[in-house]
Symmetry: none
Subunit: 204 residues, 4 copies
DNA sequence: GATGAATGAGATTTCATTCAT
DNA sequence: TATGAATGAAATCTCATTCAT
């Protein structure tokens, strides 16, 4: 039974690409490295993908669309804005926890690669910012969020903080582990929403 | 009189490199593009710099050391932690304001280029995080900052937010202008220190 | 009833190859283009033909043998040499008229492709020259043709003129149409046999 | 003294390309074959020429422009049309005599390569036909040439005959040698202008 | 210091052909 | 017969770096 279908082979190549890109980076990765890692012939990569770029595009879009779906689902719920932002943070952190290589590739090779793939997928990346900004906007209208800071700006700061934390894990600059992952979720939301400063109430 | 000294030529090449890297990105920039833009012969680039990489390394280190100096100077002062962080934000934003191309190159090609120059200069970049973390730490010891969030983590979130805002400007995702620059300084500090949430006045 | 026999499929592939080669040229045509145009599976082309080359070889030989048969039939008749050459010209021009794609492929990809298929089929092409030369030889022996020019040379000039005219039609350099086709038959023979010069009436 | 200038190196590469293309044909010739034959490094070919195609384009245009110049010079003289056509034939035959490799490349790889370079240089090739046609037209106006055959058609037949003869030499189908070269000049003109048929005077 | 011609390693991509089903 | 996934050799072009003058 369990025959190897075309879709399987595609998947095998994609999985190999994740490992290779995570290990060597997109630029240093040769198509033959991917084929070797996948255990298939050189040309098969080109049978399933039009180019080396298309492999990364596919990897990114598949995963980023999952993220957008998750954000939209959170967005459609009727939780408080803070909880929505926590849910999003949680989804991103868990994505890294469960599949660090994929997230490494997406962040390092796409969202942070401003001059290459980052630029190409700017619109797609921007969609996430817009969805986050909308949540901030809701919070401001409801009065739970302060109104001075523009939602767009707040979304940038929020996402920038998360991405930097992931980057810290990716490059072993920040300790990484089950405890740290959970802690990070709370910390990000606590920092961006609550602020680093101690409540001034105590001063009174 | 005003003869062109060796140091001048070096500077001319470095300035050209900034323009070329900002315009085309490091990877798409050929050494000949730099020479052409500088109006010097191809080989002269190699007379002053050992390699193409060394040009970018030089560009980065020169500027990043200025940043580190600025942070250290701020650090050595005895302002409140919040004011220190504002001063750092201010320095970074003004750097972009006065020399957008240099900052674009440093951010896009080095600090965000995690797999290439970012990795190479990890230690140098880390120095900035450590200095920022120290300020947070001071704030926590003084009781003005809340203690739960680790200083290292806070530094990451703080720097991540700033970098994302700069990236937004660089890629025209965020409006850019004198007013926006000043506003951004306040917003970043306000967001990270004060938090997005409205003061819990209601609770009282 | 009307089942699709093996011979039919072969024919379908051959006809598709003619269209594809005429449209894209042999080199730019992929085997998959032929299969697609024929509406059959990729591998079936290899079921009926040993290679891509063999498809063109078959196309050429089938048609060129028809030409040789026609020339031989003309040759075997007892018409005057001029009429024989007219009949040959007529057959070639009508071949183009009725099946421009096939003739385009044969001329462009074989008889003019001196370095590839032209060389491979040199002997077969030469057969046509020899038959034509024989007709010229007959004319010379009969005294209707002048004797200085060697038959072999005359055959080259004769065929060269025809082929250039066909090439002119193929690439829209010469007007093409029913009238032009008929006219061309007369013109070729008139030019090569009668010459471009006006009869030396002045001599009288 | 006699230093090797840049122009020299270009020439050396071009000459090597002629030898290699003549020997192997354009398609089978690798750029490294040219570099090897020229005794220079691979990359130098790309220093002087943008692509492999550009090498052949250069080869063709240089020589074809010489041909056009020669035809124009002949055209501008006030010889009789027959003499002008003889002069053109003579120039082409001598070109082959003195530089058979160059002419082989130009004919085989460009003028007869209808689907690739022939199409690209169609306009340039057409210029020659037009100049020849103009000479025929003059002859017709002067009454020395018969008027029925269109000049454009006559030019095709004339050039087609010459090219086929050259092709015959190139592929050893026609005997080649000093005597044959001179003979061919006369034969081509005699065939196309005088016609193959014996003067009808005898008939009277 | 200054020049730019010369070098050559390296990687993507194409596509004819094979072959298991 | 028929399918189309799988194979892998081959060749162009790029460009950082070197070096003779």
């Amino acid at each position: 039974m369990a025959r190897t279908t075309a879709a399987d082979k595609r998947r095998i190549i994609l999985d190999a690409a994740v490992r290779v890109f995570a290990r060597q980076g997109f630029h240093s990765a040769r198509v033959s490295d991917i084929a070797d890692d996948a255990g298939v012939a050189y040309g098969l990569v080109y049978h399933y993908f039009g180019s080396k770029d298309e492999v990364l595009d596919t990897l990114f879009l598949d995963r980023w669309n999952l993220l957008l779906d998750a954000i939209r689902e959170v967005d459609d719920g009727d939780a408080a804005p803070r909880d929505k932002l926590f849910a999003i943070t949680s989804f991103i952190v868990d994505s890294y926890r469960h599949d660090p290589d994929v997230m490494k590739v997406i962040i390092v090779e796409v969202t942070r690669a401003a001059n290459s793939f980052g630029r190409k997928h700017l619109g797609k990346i921007q969609e996430a910012f817009d969805l986050i900004a909308a949540i901030v906007d809701d919070g401001q209208r409801a009065g739970t969020f302060r109104g001075e800071i523009t939602p767009q700006f707040a979304a940038m700061a929020f996402y920038g903080a998360i991405e930097q934390v992931l980057t810290g894990w990716i490059f072993d600059v920040l300790p990484r582990g089950e405890a740290e992952f959970e802690e990070a979720k709370a910390f990000v939301v606590e920092t961006i929403l609550g602020g680093l400063e101690a409540p001034a109430a105590t001063t009174i």
